[in-house]
Amino acid sequence: MSKGFFKSSIGKKVIMGLTGLFLVSFLVVHVGINSLIYANDNGETFNAGAHFMAHNPLIRVMEIVLFAGLILHAVQAIILTMENKKARPVAYAMTNGAANSSWYSRSMALLGILLLMFLVVHLGNFWVPTKQALMANEEHNTFENLKVVFSQWYFVVIYLIGVFALCYHLLHGFQSAFQSLGLNHKKYTPTIKKIGIWFSIIVCLLFASMPVTMFLGIIK
């Protein structure tokens, strides 16, 4: 590997792309486990899934990798955004970005910051109590935890905002990661873009449905 790679603009983008796709792979697992609430059996299936996630050694290792990946993604994003601000010291009096690009492709840093703020709340809601229970050697009833959080309307609103930010972050990010990694091909890129759009919509609708159905008492 050449020395300057990770300092170069493209090297940094490669890291963004790789960590971004890694975070995407985590979302698949996360949305899958969470969907177990739709068994609607008073959380029995869901809690079994949560128990597995909390105790499986491989998942425990992956949790550390996940945090590392998220931090790397966020730190790199901040460095890139600051460099980009420096590249235009005098702002235009008038810009017409809508004429040439989507608003969310131009707002990745803002959407990312929203996501980061959401994650603080989210980890406080579920990750912290799970860890506390683990530390105290108790069995944590994650499903009861869900019910309590999502009985409060403001948490439902915060979660919907978080999912909204995620959806638009992914709508641009999914296909963008492939472009950053140089994976662009006349034959495959249109398919990658379609998968990105469907992935973002399906994953985010599933995530959004959970606080709503629990708040409304459809899932008990």
Partner: protein
């Protein structure tokens, strides 16, 4: 050459005036009357400058040369877009019929840390030249020219290289990019040579050196918004950026300590 339905416009022009790269600039407002819809945007500036000269004032500095969309000099950021409201053209190819009577038009220079303002609307784009000299060349043997058919080039490669070579180095991609990134320009220059057999000798060295120079010039980082491709007067595709990323990753992985 009249269009057959020539009209005359009254316009308000807000133009960026700046003495040099050291001083801060401001907008200056001019009222223009009787501007023909058949005029090009630069001809409108000629009319205004004539007037300023007659009044003993300093004319507005702007770059231009060919006035037919091939030299890339006519950098003007017009109402929030490089080269104005139309796609696929340069400022010299923009006509006043693209505007309406009573319009206010805001004209700014390319704004980029790597393109310091020389005066008014004229910016220094020698950063592009330095990127080219860092690697945008091929080494050829001296002597007689080879027979054209000695080097076989697939039609698809020739077409793609030709499309990339259409870049005129205008800098609209940098100007419009929210990150001030030069990736479209550099990727066009890397691609046109990487696609052809003649470019193979310096292939790895080229992309490593050109990216190093691009970063050193202070251009921003691409976030794949696609704004550059949409505003490029020559329709350079961001497929070239992906190709350059591939070239760079490949060259970095296989070049020791560069």
């Amino acid at each position: 050459m009249g269009s057959g339905n020539e009209q005359f416009l009254n316009l308000t022009l807000k133009v960026w005036r700046q003495k040099n790269s050291k001083t801060a600039g401001t907008f200056e407002t001019h009222q223009l009357t009787g501007i023909s819809t058949d005029m090009s945007f630069l001809e409108m500036f000629d009319v205004l400058n004539e007037k300023l000269i007659h009044e003993g004032k300093d004319p507005i500095a702007f770059d231009h040369d060919c006035r037919e969309g091939i030299c890339g000099m006519c950098s003007m950021f017009i109402n929030g877009r490089p080269h104005g409201p139309k796609q696929g053209i340069t400022t010299c190819q923009l006509h006043m019929r693209s505007f309406k009577n009573g319009d206010t038009i805001i004209v700014e220079p390319w704004r980029s840390a790597a393109f310091p303002v020389i005066k008014d609307l004229s910016v220094d784009r020698t950063a592009f030249d330095r990127i080219i000299s860092s690697g945008g060349y091929v080494s050829v043997n001296t002597g007689n020219a080879q027979d054209a058919n000695n080097i076989l080039i697939p039609k698809s490669a020739a077409d793609e290289a030709f499309a990339a070579a259409a870049c005129i180095g205008c800098g609209a991609c940098v100007a419009t990019c929210k990150n001030g990134s030069a990736m479209l320009f550099v990727s066009a220059k890397v691609s046109q040579l990487a696609l052809l057999p003649q470019g193979q000798a310096e292939r790895k060295e080229r992309v490593l050196n050109m990216i190093a120079q691009m970063d050193a010039e202070g251009f921003g980082n691409c976030t794949n918004t696609g704004a550059c491709e949409a505003e490029c007067p020559k329709g350079i595709s961001i497929e070239n950026i992906a190709r350059m990323n591939r070239e760079f990753i490949g060259a970095s992985l296989t070049t020791p300590n560069k």
